[in-house]
């Protein structure tokens, strides 16, 4: 069968060109103007999807194991820590090299060195680059903050004693305080290694001339419509993992064990900003994998989240996995009405009919949280069901009466700040107002731009807020608890205005502790602190639901690499695609 997979019209690429049958086709939901690792804002962003297949950081997450486990990527092994935890040495893989590119002498890529790693991280520190990822480096590496300040003040660049190339292949990092989360930070694609030569040659156009060490390299860039990557011939020898989570063998995820990566020849990213065309292209077989659009959720899946038979017959598979995301309602703990009244916060939590929200707005696809740490983390307690994180109107009313006694009269109207002004957000506001009214509480809703929520809650806080929720950047509990810290260098994200000296103290210990059973125990204690004090109400956990054609295999969703970040492990059966796709 002559099919478009062999010579296809590339949706969004402006011309017809040969497409390898072993190519993977994915959707980008936003236009990507270029890629530069230091500007990756979110793991689900288009830039992250493209960049993380071209560039590599020192570490990466094991593709299959859950809870998530960090393994070496450009590093040859895990860091060698000093006894005091204040310095570590990282050796680089000898066979890791930059892809061939005209920016190198004779166009031939060269091995990655420790100097490249230092150069790349200094770019994050350079204030002229305005990298948001600096927030994760700040105050950690000796001399790096001073280096940033010098560049800002236009004074001579000081040396950075905390970043030292021992030799071409060995990097030594000296820290201002113990930082065991370092390996997770260095597994983030924003810390990927770039060559100085590319920056010098391409300057501002570096965004369109990526030169990385990864499994793919740029083949073509069609502005606003798509990006095509092809297998990098200089990619080092790396193999598909031979072990994984217990259920992986039965799911066929170990079928490619030991095979050389990457398994697909090309990656075609198609920019499709609206959901309906993406769905139609998926049905035509031109897209291999797609998150199920809300409008088609009920058509595709039954109540138990299994594919309906007609879709099974079409050769589709469904993947459901919990994302590391928690939607919550936060309290302003600086508001005396809220802060001094635990029964009031409990009443509000008990009045929230989370299941109604889930059914009404999300087709029932989300989960109801029992705790704050999401599944997928080793610190998550599956059996934990917080007594207040549930819907019980009678108990809510009883707690409200208790709250009125503490307040000394009727509770004054509360204000809920919501991010966004769309009709959907307003409907959610009306729903929450109704719930609280049923519990005997009056609520006013005010709306701000969703991305201005944090600054508005810092500067002019309302009684409560309903914002974007909390999405983990790396699978360490400090990433969650940092939002509740009131003192110290890390106290930058506390829009709850929550203050608990015991919690702050525990956070300091937790942040410095290497992974151990004691650390997990401390983490559980801190989670209990929060559940007890209730500066926020767990609202919903989100499940990522996507469908794919069965010619795309060895596919396992991963929370910390984005939906398109680990393409090197995927396999596409071109023959099956040709047989099954509609002409």
């Amino acid at each position: 069968m002559q099919h478009a997979a062999l010579v296809g019209v590339l949706a969004g690429c402006g011309r017809e060109e040969a497409v390898s049958p072993g190519s993977e086709h994915l959707v980008l939901r936003e236009r990507v103007a270029g890629v530069d690792p230091i500007h990756i804002s979110g793991l689900a962003s288009g830039m992250a999807a493209v960049a993380s297949n071209i560039y590599e950081p020192l570490f990466q997450y094991h593709y299959l194991k859950r809870p998530y486990e960090v393994v070496p990527c450009l590093a040859a092994e895990m860091p060698q820590w000093s006894a005091d935890g204040l310095s570590c040495r990282i050796r680089l893989k000898g066979d890791a090299r930059f892809d061939d590119n005209p920016c190198f002498p004779e166009g031939r890529g060269r091995p990655v060195t420790a100097a490249d790693v230092i150069f790349s991280w200094k770019r994050i520190a350079d204030p002229r680059n305005a990298s948001a990822f600096w927030a994760h480096f700040e105050h950690h590496i000796i001399g790096l903050d001073e280096y940033r300040r010098a560049l800002r003040e236009n004074t001579p660049e000081p040396a950075v004693p905390g970043l030292h190339a021992v030799d071409a292949q060995t990097l030594e990092i000296r820290l201002t305080r113990p930082w065991p989360q370092l390996i997770q930070i260095f597994a983030h694609p924003a810390t990927a290694v770039v060559p100085a030569e590319a920056l010098q040659i391409y300057g501002a156009d570096f965004l369109r001339h990526p030169v990385g060490t990864g499994p793919f390299r740029l083949r073509s860039w069609e502005p606003g419509t798509g990006v095509v990557l092809e297998k990098s011939p200089t990619f080092r020898e790396e193999h598909y993992p031979t072990d994984g989570a217990p259920e992986d063998a039965a799911a066929g995820l170990l079928a490619d064990s030991g095979k050389r990566l990457p398994q697909v020849d090309e990656v075609h990213f198609h920019v499709i900003e609206t959901s309906e065309p993406a769905w139609l292209l998926f049905l035509q077989g031109r897209i291999d994998h797609l998150g199920v659009p809300t409008d088609h959720f009920d058509d595709v899946l039954d109540a138990s989240w299994q594919l309906r038979p007609e879709w099974n017959q079409k050769g589709l598979c469904v993947d459901v996995f919990p994302s590391m995301f928690l939607r919550w309602i936060g309290f302003n703990m600086a508001d005396p009405v809220i802060a001094n009244n635990l029964p009031l916060r409990r009443a509000i939590s008990l009045a929230m009919n989370r299941q109604e929200f889930n059914d009404l707005f999300l087709g029932g696809r989300c989960g109801l949280p029992g705790s704050l740490l999401p599944p997928g983390m080793k610190e998550h307690r599956p059996g934990l069901r917080d007594a207040w994180m549930t819907f019980d109107l009678e108990r809510a009313r009883a707690q409200r009466i208790e709250a009125e006694k503490i307040h000394g009269g009727a509770i004054p109207p509360l204000t809920l700040r919501m991010g966004g002004t769309s009709p959907l957000v307003r409907q959610i506001g009306q729903l929450i107002t109704r719930w609280l009214a049923e519990a005997g509480l009056e609520l006013h809703v005010d709306h701000v731009d969703e991305r201005a929520m944090n600054s508005s809650m810092r500067e002019h806080p309302a009684s409560m807020f309903f914002g974007d929720g909390y999405s983990m950047v790396h699978p360490d509990p400090t990433d969650l608890f940092r939002r509740f810290v009131s003192h110290g260098d890390d106290a930058t994200a506390n829009i709850f205005h929550y203050q608990n000296p015991r919690f702050d103290e525990s956070y300091e210990s937790l942040a410095a502790m290497p992974d151990s059973p004691e650390r997990i125990k401390l983490c559980h204690q801190m989670e209990d602190h929060l559940l007890q004090d209730l500066p926020c109400i767990g609202f919903l956990t989100y499940n990522w639901v996507s469908v794919r054609h069965d010619w795309l295999t060895s596919f396992k969703p991963h929370a910390f690499s984005g939906p398109a970040g680990l393409i090197k492990y995927h396999r596409v059966d071109g023959r099956r695609r040709e047989q099954q796709s509609p002409p």
């Binding site: 019209v9 949706a11 690429c13 270029g34 305005a130 606003g224 309906e276 065309p277 810092r458």
Partner: protein, 322 residues
């Protein structure tokens, strides 16, 4: 004519200055901190200050009065507003805050796809609506006129987006007559262009009909009829010529839409034009892009109006530019 053009050019200056002031005020005085937006949840106050510095947002808004009073004139006018004016007037629109590339590069990339849609849509809808408008005027007060008006009303009643989605599903997906999505050269443009022409047709046909009917009932038409002018010449020459003024006044101010007018078509059919870029920029508060697009749209609008006046005067002897 020269005096008219000079007067118009002089009038353009305060209008453009007003546009500059308005776009600047909107971008700087909104209660929204770009640095907090970019910095994310964990940004410290020091980092937020660095981000403002990197984007020039730490400079004084209009004038640094302390520097002015101390006699440092150059530093006093190193302000956000002066920079804003300089960038727009020199057509160096700065760097996009979200796409991180020079705005001029982004405009260059998007202008081709935008024009590929909007030029045929604008010309096509003008030609078709003029023809149908003339036809409607020709069959005035007959049942054909009523049918045509009914069709126009129906066309105006159907939401454009619904029509686009329906056409995409049936014409492209079900019947396979066009690509579902994508900038696949000429082939990918046919369906969006036809839709673009069709969607605005109802209102334009009704407008053309009304303008032509008005001219057909003027005294000079009776004169023409008395002189024995009839058939197509009556409509195409005697009625159309004086109607050119109002018709151009209707269409030429749409020139800015050449850049931004195909937003929904771009989004639904995957055309990488400037309309989608403008919406993305507004949503991301990417003010260098928003300001550049607004400035260019204002210039095009003024140009369109001036052109409409000149052409109207050229074809309609009742109009004098003085």
């Amino acid at each position: 004519m020269k005096r008219f053009l000079i007067r118009r050019l002089l009038a353009v200056v305060p209008v453009l200055f007003g546009v500059l002031l308005l776009t600047f005020a909107l971008s700087r005085l909104l209660p929204d901190d770009f640095a907090s937006r970019l910095g994310g949840d964990y940004a410290s106050q020091e980092m937020l200050a660095d981000l403002r510095w990197a984007h020039g947002l730490d400079k004084p808004l209009f004038v640094a009065w302390d520097r002015l009073l101390s006699g440092n004139i150059a530093a006093a006018f190193d302000s956000q507003f002066i920079g804003h004016c300089r960038r727009l007037f020199t057509l160096d629109f700065g760097r996009s805050w979200s796409a991180l590339r020079p705005v001029s590069h982004l405009l260059r990339e998007g202008v081709g796809p935008s024009l590929a849609i909007t030029v045929p849509v604008l010309l096509g809808s003008a030609a078709v609506s003029l023809l149908l408008g003339m036809l409607a005027a020709f069959v005035w007060r007959t049942r054909w006129d009523r049918w045509l008006l009914g069709a126009c009303t129906l066309n105006m009643s159907i939401p454009g987006v619904a029509l686009m989605l329906a056409a995409q599903y049936f014409v492209a997906f079900e019947w396979g007559w066009a690509p579902v999505h994508g900038w696949a050269g000429g082939r990918g443009l046919v369906l969006p262009v036809l839709l673009g022409i069709f969607i605005g047709l109802g209102a334009d046909v009704r407008f053309c009909r009304v303008v032509l009917l008005k001219e057909l009932h003027e005294d000079f038409m009776r004169t023409a009829l008395a002189k024995g002018v009839g058939g197509w010449r009556l409509y195409a020459v005697h009625a159309l010529r004086p109607a050119i003024g109002p018709l151009l006044a209707h269409w030429l101010p749409r020139l800015p839409l050449l850049l931004t007018g195909s937003l929904f078509l771009e989004r639904i059919f995957g055309i990488p034009g400037l309309g989608g870029m403008m919406v993305d920029a507004i949503s991301a508060r990417d003010f260098p892009v928003v300001n550049a697009m607004t400035f260019i749209a204002a210039v095009l609008h003024l140009f369109g109006q001036t052109l409409a006046d000149i052409i109207s005067a050229r074809f309609d002897p009742r109009i004098r530019l003085s």
